[in-house]
């Protein structure tokens, strides 16, 4: 990716411009370096610093340097004399205007444009503004700080609750994008003028029904602005006559239709609200890093919150969605943001700066004498705390109170989901969230029923409200009738009986009706998980994610430490076979002690075995620890993210070198993960060199459908039932036939509907989350290989995942 260097006299200006530009490309970080000011306060430019900044972002694609004026240009030119020839050849000084050019350049660079194109885009950065202003017909020189030539208009406030958050947000929205400065005041209360672009300031005017407001505007679009406001007021600020922002008793509300089942199961019980996250008055912020970093944290927290609100907004009726527009407008409120940014620049952590600004705004509302407006302070607090929570490190939800309950929370972070206790948490209901999130996966893994995206109303349910939910179907019933309770209890009993039957046979081998043994393993990475896996009857551990040993530390674990960790795991599993996957990290989860270049697309970059072959000392150490472990207990080793035979041969040769010194342990099996379509299709070429294949269906699905599972916009595409994925599983089994075994260790293996399908495709081992081992074994026992093969053949002829799911053999296996 092309790097960008921002040269300015002012460090604050440069950082603000960078923050502005980065807003355009969330999630696609462009390397940007700032060379601005002589220090935090002193204006000036420094050629040596510019040269350094160029070096910092320089890469294969070079960089584009944007600068403000005067000495910035001279210094930038001079900087070129200070850098290496080859770097200079790929460094472009660009005459674009700094702010507009930077925004355009960052967008172009994030999109993968070359440096000439980035520079061209930057130079064109003024076009939008130029055409906008020329369009107005009157290119007015905006006078600075002069007495403004104001145009004014009167507005009568007609909505029943006055100009509360929703109509005020409408007002702000009407003015957005207009080249005009607009201010507004409450004539009735003789208030001062406030900016009409600031939702929080407008609301402090206390404009109630019948009040007279005056708006004044200056600038090229002043007339347009006033016309829009007059028209908005004439439309009763788009409030329908009966519109009311109050809600009825929450318990009587039907549950939102968008509530999504995220983890199957049935539960009836009183709700307990998750111990609330940070409040504006009470939280602990980490000390500030640099203002730039803090600013970035703020931006990203705002973006996260914005997305949450958008998601929720999409789930409510159109008439009510405007209240979320008010929340969204708060996230863009210039007064709030300015105050926050000023505090950040003054050295405060983003969390504290944001909390102070929103708290002040909330209190302004709360101090108003109008009961309705005062209550809007709660909106500010809610949005404020939402952003604050996104700014703070995730804290586990403490389940301090005893007794079983259904946990109700705003949303769960993966870390929080992982701390839930299945013994006391009957189920989870979240206001936000997605069934495809990692938190949902974790909840499923813990066997806790969960319904997500149920809407914020659930947060208002009184503590102890009894709720019945069937998270298999998504049903959620508040204060259920005795009949409903009976029906749900009956369903739960049936399910529990099936589970108990499965548990009772958990330690028996899983043999199909027609007599084929299928190994059902567990995915486990810690001794505790291994103990659980053993208790639940896992035949082996089919996947140990060894990166758990490597993450969150200053240096890589040495051979001895690894060996002892692997042995602990094997001991906890009673000395049965464990399958160690070598380190699987990449640019998306870099290790501190393994610096990696910034990749535009880490999922297609250096990860898994690719990294191991670049850093052979790391892989060799790990293989040595694995081989030493294998001398003491049955071990399989597998390499992740293999796409070519050369990679496998290189890895095997490293392993052979280790075996030459350590000796070859009896029973050491070697395999590869199949996550890349290329590996699936070439299984026959790999087969002579491996004992087994293990298909990682999550990644295989992602790479096959080109849909990242974390991206909710495309998550639905990443469906493992897609016939393309099934064809690749079949290709793997065909290629392996007679030479190597094929296992599936992705989440797909734990899907009850998939078991028969996988067996039919030729898979002989399933590795699932421990909790699903008994049930998966039952699935195997109820299947016949012959029938499964027929089902699989039919599935391979289908065109869509829906058709596959509709096959009798697939749906049938879903019924108990």
């Amino acid at each position: 990716m092309v790097g960008i260097v921002v040269v300015s006299h002012s460090r604050a200006l440069a950082r603000a411009a960078v923050a502005l530009a980065e807003e355009m490309t969330p999630g696609r970080p462009v390397p940007i370096a700032v060379a601005a000011g002589l220090d935090e306060e002193t204006l000036g430019t420094d050629a040596a610093a510019i040269a350094q900044a160029i070096g910092a972002v320089d890469g294969e694609d070079g960089s584009v340097v944007l600068m403000d004026l005067g000495s910035a240009v001279l210094s930038a030119e001079m900087a070129l004399e200070f850098i290496e020839d080859d770097v200079r050849r790929r460094t472009l000084l660009c005459s674009a205007p700094l702010v507009e050019g930077l925004v355009a350049a960052v967008v172009a660079a994030a999109g993968g444009a070359g440096r000439a194109e980035v520079a061209e885009e930057a130079r064109n950065g003024l076009l939008g503004k130029q055409s906008q202003l020329a369009d107005g017909g009157e290119v007015v020189e905006v006078e600075q700080q002069q007495p403004q030539p104001w145009a004014t208009a009167r507005l009568t406030i007609t909505p029943p609750h006055g100009l509360h958050a929703r109509p005020a947000a409408k007002l702000v929205a009407e003015l957005r994008g207009l080249n005009a400065v607009v201010e507004i005041r409450n004539v009735t209360k003789e208030s001062a003028w406030v900016s009409a672009a600031s939702l929080s300031r407008i609301a402090t005017l206390g404009l109630r029904t019948g009040h007279e407001a005056e708006a004044r505007a200056s600038g090229p679009a002043a007339e347009e602005a006033l016309q829009r406001l007059t028209s908005l007021a004439a439309r009763n600020f788009d409030e329908s006559a009966g519109a009311s922002a109050t809600t009825g008793s929450p318990a009587q509300q039907p549950f939102p239709t968008a509530a999504l089942p995220a983890s199957p199961g049935i539960a009836i019980g009183p709700i307990r609200h998750a111990v609330s996250g940070p409040t504006l008055e009470n939280f602990e912020a980490e000390p500030a890093t640099s203002p730039v970093d803090e600013k970035q944290r703020l931006e990203s927290a705002l973006a996260t919150t914005r997305q949450h609100i958008h998601e929720l907004r999409a789930t409510v009726a159109q008439g009510e969605s405007a209240i979320f527009d008010a929340h969204l407008a708060l996230l863009e409120d210039p007064a709030l943001l300015n105050q926050t940014q000023a505090a950040i620049l003054a050295g405060q952590p983003a969390a504290r700066a944001w909390a102070a600004a929103t708290l002040e705004a909330a209190r302004q509302f709360e101090s108003l004498d109008d009961e309705y407006l005062a209550a809007r302070g709660a909106d500010v607090r809610a949005v404020g705390e939402q952003v604050l929570a996104a700014l703070l490190p995730q804290i586990p939800i403490a389940e301090t109170r005893s007794g079983e309950a259904i946990l109700v929370a705003r949303d769960l972070a993966p870390a929080q989901a992982a701390t839930l206790d299945p013994d006391t948490t009957l189920a989870v209901i979240t206001a936000y969230g997605s069934p495809t999130s990692h938190a949902a996966i974790l909840t499923r893994a813990r066997g806790i029923p969960a319904i997500v995206a149920a809407g914020t109303d659930v947060l208002n349910w009184p503590e102890g409200t009894v709720v019945a939910l069937d998270a298999t179907t998504g049903e959620l019933i508040v204060s259920p009738s005795p009949e409903t309770i009976a029906a749900f209890t009956g369903r739960a009993e049936t399910a529990r009986a099936a589970a108990e039957a499965a548990q009772a046979d958990a330690h028996q081998p899983a043999i199909t009706r027609d007599g084929f043994r299928i190994l059902v393993g567990a995915n486990a990475s810690t001794p505790a998980e291994a103990t659980a896996a053993r208790a639940l009857g896992a035949d082996l551990i089919g996947l140990v994610r060894t990166e758990f040993l490597f993450l969150g530390r200053e240096s890589a674990p040495d051979v001895d430490e690894q060996e002892s960790a692997y042995l602990d795991l094997a001991d906890a599993f009673g000395g049965e076979r464990i399958t160690l996957r070598t380190l699987d990290v990449g640019g998306d989860k870099p290790l501190g002690y393994l610096p990696m270049p910034l990749e535009a697309n880490p999922f297609l970059g250096v990860r898994g075995l690719r990294l191991g072959l670049l850093r052979t000392e790391l892989l060799t150490d790990q293989l040595r620890a694995i081989v030493r472990t294998a001398h003491q207990t049955p071990v399989s080793v597998m390499f992740p993210m293999v796409s070519t035979l050369d990679e496998l041969l290189a890895a095997r040769s490293l392993l052979d070198q280790v075996l030459a010194t350590e000796g070859t342990p009896p029973g050491l099996l070697v395999g590869i993960m199949v996550e890349v379509p290329a590996a699936a299709l070439k299984a026959a070429s790999f087969a002579p060199h491996v004992d087994f294949f293990s298909i990682g269906t999550n990644d295989l699905t992602q790479y096959t459908l080109a849909a990242e599972r974390g991206n909710e916009a495309v998550a639905a595409l990443g469906d493992p039932f897609d016939p393309a994925v099934l064809h690749l599983i079949r290709a793997t089994c065909n290629g392996a036939a007679g030479q190597a075994e094929v296992a599936v260790c992705g989440e797909f293996a734990a899907d009850p509907r998939a078991v028969s399908l996988l067996l039919g495709l030729g898979v002989t081992e399933l590795s699932v989350t421990s909790r699903r081992v008994p049930e998966t074994k039952q699935r195997v026992r109820s299947a016949s290989l012959a029938q499964s093969r027929t089902t699989a053949e039919q599935a391979l002829l289908r065109a869509t995942s829906e058709e596959v799911r509709g096959l009798p053999g697939v749906t049938a296996s879903h019924d108990r």
């Binding site: 000011g37 204006l43 000036g44 040596a48 610093a49 005067g70 000495s71 030119e77």
Partner: protein, 218 residues
Amino acid sequence: MSEIVDVSTLKSWLIRFAGDVEEHAAELTELDSAIGDADHGSNLARGMKAVITALVDDEAPDSIGPILKQSGMTLVSTVGGASGPLYGTLFLRMAASAGDCDALGPQSLAQAFRAGLDGVAARGKATAGEKTLLDALIPAVDTLESALAEGTPFDDAIRAAADAAEAGRDATIPMLATKGRASYLGERSVGHQDPGATSLALLFRAAANTMIDGEDGK
């Protein structure tokens, strides 16, 4: 040919210039406030202070080229305004021309100034008559060269160069600025003395004052 500028003379020149800039900082800034961004005096004073601080450091270089180079780099990183890269270029090009030696003769000094002048002109993409420091630098270097070519003794030549720089400085008053921040003012720049040319004249006067034995003040 006698060696006019040894390491200690060079250091004296720089220290003298720094003192002069400090002394005239308010005046330079005032000139700049009329047609620029009112920072020339304070910027250059800050930069030269840093040059002197680096000069007296124990680790400081002890030969002509390296001292000039260090000074140039220091100016580049500490002045902040346009005079940073411009004065920086002047010293860096002089450093390259002078090389790593213990002393410069008159010709070598003139060559170094010429190299510096060329660098500054290229850096600013300016020529004579545009109300910049070149309007002092060009006549100063031209005068130094021609005087030496005519066989004028060095003392007289460098004094003439300083005079020429001051005359050039004064000549900027009626000029119309077409480069730098002053160019934004257009016609309004006429009637003001250019601050860059003013400081450049100080540089040559400081040279004359330190390189001529017994010369002091004017």
